[in-house]
Symmetry: C2
Amino acid sequence: MAYYKDIREYIKALEERELLWRIKTAVKKETELSPMVRWQFRGLTEDQRRAFLFENVIDSKGHKYDVPVLVGALAGSKKIYATGLQCKPEEIQKKWDQAQHKPIPPKLVKDGPVHEVIMMGKELKEEGLDRFPFAVDIPGFEGILRTTSSHFFSKDPETGVGNIGCYSSYVIARDRMAIGIGPVMHMRTNWQKAKEMGLPFLPAALVPSMVPAVCYTSVARIPYGTDELEISGGLAGEPIEMVKCKTVDIEVPATAEIVIEGKVSTSMEMNNTGAFGEYTGYMAEPIPCLIFDITCITHRRNPILMNIISQMPPSESSKIRQLAYEGVWYNFLKRDCGINSVLDVAFHEISGSCYYCVIQMKKRHPAEAWQALNAAVAHASFVGKFFITVDEDIDPRDPESVNWALCFRTQPHLDTRITMGKTASLDPSAAPPTAPWSEKNYPSPRGCSALLIDATRKWDYPSVSLPKREYMERARELWEAEGLPALKPRVPWFGYKLGHWPKEYEEAAESVIKGEIYQLGERVYQQRRQI
Amino acid sequence: MAYYKDIREYIKALEERELLWRIKTAVKKETELSPMVRWQFRGLTEDQRRAFLFENVIDSKGHKYDVPVLVGALAGSKKIYATGLQCKPEEIQKKWDQAQHKPIPPKLVKDGPVHEVIMMGKELKEEGLDRFPFAVDIPGFEGILRTTSSHFFSKDPETGVGNIGCYSSYVIARDRMAIGIGPVMHMRTNWQKAKEMGLPFLPAALVPSMVPAVCYTSVARIPYGTDELEISGGLAGEPIEMVKCKTVDIEVPATAEIVIEGKVSTSMEMNNTGAFGEYTGYMAEPIPCLIFDITCITHRRNPILMNIISQMPPSESSKIRQLAYEGVWYNFLKRDCGINSVLDVAFHEISGSCYYCVIQMKKRHPAEAWQALNAAVAHASFVGKFFITVDEDIDPRDPESVNWALCFRTQPHLDTRITMGKTASLDPSAAPPTAPWSEKNYPSPRGCSALLIDATRKWDYPSVSLPKREYMERARELWEAEGLPALKPRVPWFGYKLGHWPKEYEEAAESVIKGEIYQLGERVYQQRRQI
């Protein structure tokens, strides 16, 4: 099956799978649009979530936009993300593996629908970004209009290698935006090089809406020097078709909905004014930003604007990060560190898919649990505050299952250790809000800390105290025959052995099933003794 | 409203509230009955759970019993427990307070329905316990027939003060049982006194089925020397009517369904043969037991047998323990220790309602969080491995909400401490299964450990990154008008302030709502600076 030609085909695919709601009611972009989508992250289960297509967007002054807004379509749930990759949810990891091992370079084409409409000069100055209903993400707290689906295309000015990255950006005029790019981000490196080379600006293009395969690589952490578009091609299974921008030396997907071309100044910077929401679940404070002067906007006829719902987890951004980090850490532990007993890595979304990481393993040697913990905490200084190893029978994604392991498979004085030297990555527990930025990022003198917990079994255990599998299965038949409510089984849902189960226990259990309780009783009674 | 006269009235009340399923299909007591009820604890949400009345119980040899079995009727869910106390779920704590402060002594009556049928002598020897379909709780692993709804009535042989306790007991003959009673249990104290006084036995009566108010006090930890029945009366709001047993000097509820009278030998003991399920989620190994020789069985016409579903949490027993411990710890911290800022105490069921305890507080002084942690871990040596304090905006019962606090409100090196000297209480992580009992209970030389975590905020935080409440409420109206799936909101579902929110942030957020984004943008752009 060919990959989606554009997001219009993708929207159709979501709709066919009952993964999209069309909202025809008039909805305000400042106060109603994002809160409505937000509800599904605070009030539905993940498998109930869908993408939203708002077809009738208005603003607080009553203006009606022609442009519909698509939200939650990239990663509203794992099922949606899998649809974006044309695979099953359990195949996402494999898709990423394949894309990284078999990248497919993009293909330059002469023209594409993204150039159907071109806005420059006076029109850009007078209308510009007004044409698109960028929605307020956190109404009541966000102090500047932030765009969330902000995939920036730029190039290394030395080598010409392309880069795509999703950076938070802010609308400050009809033809001007601010961009917040952290110090280790790749577009910052490109910008730094341009500055060092004495260039007055770094050319760039912001593409809010394009096929998912390109969006996904934009938010993944692909090593600097690898063109993200080759990975996108690998994900799509075919080259991404690109066209040259009209005013800057940048290529963008030919079927993108909207492209905002411009120049990032290398001589001036500014602060944004207002606080903005962050993945930690708390607002972050104004940060220094680069200035992006728009030179041209191109778009398709009847363009569709895409929005990513982020901040307080779970959200679309925590789902995207989760799937990326889980893949990266799994590969690092299993392949780079050679800890073959690792079965799964789960970053819990409530931690912003960053601070609570559970590593499931089938230990072959007791040392492997600590090897995994030490390696996992070392992989990136800004990722992870709680690292927990669990056995193969624990569901690393179910917080109750993990807590069960914590309670009955650890002794805190023997199975936990604290390590230092972590960076804070916007964590408000690092330092008070009024502290200098350096303290907030790395409180002196030793930085932030992480807690490592080995919650695997240290020896054989008696069996789990639930009926054997065959009896639970038979009971489920009876349950269903009675028409009782639909079951959603959680592990463990049957008893199983954990190493310590002597033959005499097995035999006694068989006798009980056969109803031979008085024979059992007589035998023990005969062995009674004087106290 | 008068309290339930007997469990028949109570069953009616459950049925009226749609909290009971009647199962008319033939169900095997060895392999089908408990697994069927078990499913609702591994496959439904708590508010979906109900009590089960099995009306057609058979055994593995095809025998059909006249006696129906009631399961999950005491504490299948908090709603069921509240029905047993004739109150709302949120009033349970108040009910217990009232019962302890205003106990009502029981009333002795001449006769009661419990004596409608009397079985002694030859009939007891030849039929005895066979009359009742005691179900196997963990088929495939349990190595002896264990009864779970085993409320034993006994008396202090010196003072005559009554005691009720729920102890695991085992059917070893038609007229004989074994009872496992731990060293610090009250019936063990009565038995010890009888032995010291040279009495050949301690008289006792086992009552599997009676009104919930009496069952609940049986499993609570009422101080020794207080007659549990006075607390039961306090819970019921009226005296419990009692009758004298036929063959032992013990009183039992006049409307109980079944009473098993007998004598606990003070000279002989035995082991049970088989492993049995425990609250930790693992099987426990054979333990020494006392011997209970049955002298008489009395019951009502058409008696109903009650069963408590326990072991792997969540279960009926973890719910009963949870509600009791939460009340006890709350009172201890708030009243006995005077930590007035404590708002709630939550024992998580997955920890057997024993090892994972979250204390919610609205701190007035930073020291209070550690005072609460230190007091909570000290209250009972066998309770608690993880103690966590959280702020008032965290749901202490939602593991994700607690994990959110752990991730962004702690620095492990500053906010966690390990303490020693805990006893193990069947925790398989304490020592290998083959270790001596003393090591399993208190590994030498310092016992087990607990981890204390202060996950409250240490300073003011920026606001939570969710839309303000008013916008989420408006969005919910839109959501419902669109006919989208029913929402089950989880906290936090709106953004709120956490102390650090300067006036200029507030003002900027208001401007954004009004759509004044270019004015905001212009202001910050004017303050741009040379890099």
